[in-house]
Symmetry: none
Subunit: 241 residues, 2 copies
DNA sequence: ATGGTTGTATGGTTGGACCATTGAACAATG
DNA sequence: CATTGTTCAATGGTCCAACCATACAACCAT
């Protein structure tokens, strides 16, 4: 057997090449927000591709919000944000089976209580400060009538980071992102914000005091509540469909 | 001036409607990950739109990672959410190769006891049969003087599958695969095989009898032993390096 | 069994056509 | 002069119809 290794041959689809080319033009400043792209017929000829292939690329960019096309006018570069980068993670949940959300919550039930226990043993002063900052923000935003879903996520991520286990931290990030949609909805439920606050306070207290078992149980109880909210929300959506 | 208000009339582009339709099919479970979509020509006719309009939608979904098309085969639904999580675990290995084994074991400590508890509640006769087969093979291979690392891995994977949580099952695969090297080494330690066998028998017994708490503890105890073997082996390698 | 051949279904790409909308230029109207 | 209506060219939106390249299955030849 030969020891030579072979890499997969992957001819890049045309539309992806076109996407990159247009994205580069925007990134390099050749195409500034507000600029009008050349007409499709003209641009496709310049690129040496068919108009359809060009349109496939333009539709992707339009869906991502990078450009927007209007009949009779042309295709314009949006001024929205410099980061043209696509976050697959953000949209992953909405393009996944409903069942996946339930599975994700079960995974949280497995990981986060253990993470809380580890964090209670390993959290540095810096870790605790970051968690406390999220706690303070969460409390303020609730009192101010805001949702506080960002502070919620930051707290969980800070806890994952406090385990000083990079694998935990790297896993927690997409898990939280994929549950973002649902998190925002659940915080609209009456009384849920106050509950959320006390549950998080209990978790943070246990972690900062180094009580591993208490931290594990507090997190587990919190996730039980969250999972109950999830099924409750899903039932409501099913009825309105 | 009239007090009447007018809302902007915005006809949704065809390709966005198509995207939503396909996304709903996936979210509702009508299209499961791994499923093959109808052929473009066929699907476009079913939807009453042109093939090109359908392709504009498919290219967006493909760029987002929801779906992937291959010439001569068709267009298949991806496991976007699960893929992201699996990627994170695999990427973590490249970030901290040295301490990754330790981190991975901590992740197992979090996931597998929970998985064992879930499996004890949900395992079907088929699941138990698959686990038992792995148990029998493990016993036979040990008696025959073989390593039995394959049977070991199969048992853990079968347990993960028995949770009937596909995200657990998918995550277990790379975790087990990356531990394979170490597993073979540890089974060379004198007496380790007999220990492994009794530990696995205890786990299997608890799961097959539906004892969730017992299964959790048995798995946790097993992983404690494994982790101890791991650090022991690492120390030995460090001395010889 | 192994390897080559053929046929068919698939996505990839191209060309061309027509429609709907837009804005500008221009004419018609008061 | 200001307003309104008309025409016209350019643009994106949609559709129809091919042809190419790949993949797989079935069959055949060795």
């Amino acid at each position: 057997m030969s020891s030579a290794t072979y890499s997969k041959i992957k001819p890049k689809p045309l539309f992806e090449i076109i996407i990159e080319q247009i994205r580069d033009q925007i990134a390099s400043g050749s195409l500034k927000p507000g600029d009008l792209l050349p007409a499709e017929r003209q641009l496709s000829e310049m690129m040496g591709v068919n108009r359809h292939s060009l349109r496939e690329a333009l539709k992707v960019l339009e869906f991502l919000g990078v450009v927007h096309s209007r009949t009779g006018i042309g295709t314009m570069v949006n001024n929205l944000g410099q980061d043209i980068l696509v976050d697959r993670v953000e949209q992953a949940a909405s393009f996944s089976p409903r069942r996946f959300l339930v599975e994700l919550m079960e995974l949280r039930q497995a990981i986060e209580p253990h993470a809380a226990a580890l964090a209670s043993q390993r959290a540095t002063a810096e870790d605790l400060a970051r968690m406390e900052r999220a706690m303070i923000d969460l409390r303020h935003e609730f009192e101010g009538g805001e949702l506080g879903s960002d502070a919620d996520e930051r707290l969980h991520l800070a806890l994952a980071a406090a385990t000083h286990n990079q694998t935990f931290a790297r896993l927690a990030e997409p898990m939280m992102a994929m549950l973002n949609d649902y998190r925002r909805k659940s915080l609209h439920i009456p009384g849920r914000r106050r509950e959320t606050l006390t549950e998080h306070e209990r978790i943070f207290a246990a972690v900062s005091q180094g009580k591993a078992q208490e931290a594990r149980e507090a997190m587990s109880a919190h996730l039980d509540k969250v999972e109950r909210m999830l099924t409750q929300l899903e039932d409501k959506e099913d009825r309105t469909e």
